[in-house]
Assembly symmetry: C2
Homo-oligomer: 192 residues x 2
């Protein structure tokens, strides 16, 4: 465990992904585990905290998620942009991508999903909510967040803080083809 | 119509929202129309281009969307951060938010949804795909993109180009409570 990570209250979990970061989806079942990148996820409910994520039905991740009924979402910081792109370009069916890429993972506290802290801003551990129709028709998987944690240097007291001194932890957002933008440059809207 | 807007090929439509921008959801039915902000949307399929967006069942937007079977998604640029927050904080049930906020809208070419170009980076016109269960259980509405366009100064030939000279058009991503980050600072991942 990273000494910088702190538990995030479940009522604040949706804020971790409210701004649309690209995530790493982690999964495990039996003695197998996997990690892939996903740009397509979003919160769908504040309380209980629920999210949706698109996981193609042909992926190894999807098999593991359905088998275990659980998955993790980890938010890579800017320092992990190469890794994020790499794990999105290959399948883990024939190899362990954690070992292949030297990714240190610990186990989530509730469901035992792999969670990545080094280089990541936050993670969420989720219980799959089975919705066979949307899983089949739209590859859209719903989940309830049952645990979450974040690096206190960038998310604390339920709020993000993007600053010059935490640029390497700032979330990344995939434009396509290996091009990402980094979340930064906070704009404060005027009160309506 | 803005002189800078160009049609986006439907095969590239998912790229407009791949990086998780906050959007303005537009709707119209009969002689009523509305606009609200939504941070929770994502692509779910490249071809045909399909997206999911969370629209609370108690909103006026939801009523209009279900009545017409259509909606628009407009991507506000950084110059519209105050407007985006403002239209997310009030209901359009009793007034026309376009008139209230001085928003110029034209009509989408396929479904006649209001689309906003001034200050926006892009828009997508979507046909609602009725999914009563997910609409009810998760407020999640699926749609097929039937037309899209973008300001060529920031999205052209199927690709985003975030540069110093188009900062006002760069997409915004809501952190919560009126705090947004602007997409910028492109990071190029190494080939795996």
């Amino acid at each position: 465990m990273s000494p910088h990570f702190r538990a995030v209250a479940l009522e604040h979990a949706s804020r971790l992904v409210n701004h649309g970061p690209t995530v790493l989806v982690t999964s495990a079942h039996g003695d197998r585990r996997n990690v892939m990148a996903a740009a397509w996820s979003m919160p769908v409910e504040f309380t209980p905290p629920r999210i949706a994520v698109v996981i193609d039905k042909h992926t190894w991740t999807r098999e593991l998620v359905v088998a275990s009924g659980a998955f993790g979402l980890c938010l890579p910081g800017a320092a992990l942009v190469d890794l994020t792109y790499a794990v999105g370009q290959s399948s883990g069916r024939a190899l362990d991508k954690f070992a292949r890429h030297g990714i240190a993972a610990s186990l989530g506290p509730v469901l035992g999903m792999p969670v990545i802290e080094t280089g990541c801003a936050a993670w969420l551990e989720c219980r799959l909510i089975r919705e066979p129709h949307t899983e089949d028709a739209y590859d859209t998987c719903f989940g309830e967040v049952v645990a979450a944690a974040a690096d206190a240097r960038i998310f604390a007291d339920g709020r993000w803080s993007f600053r010059d001194d935490n640029a390497e932890l700032q979330t990344i957002h995939h434009l396509g083809g290996g091009n990402f933008v980094r979340a930064g440059g906070v704009l404060r809207a005027a009160a309506p």
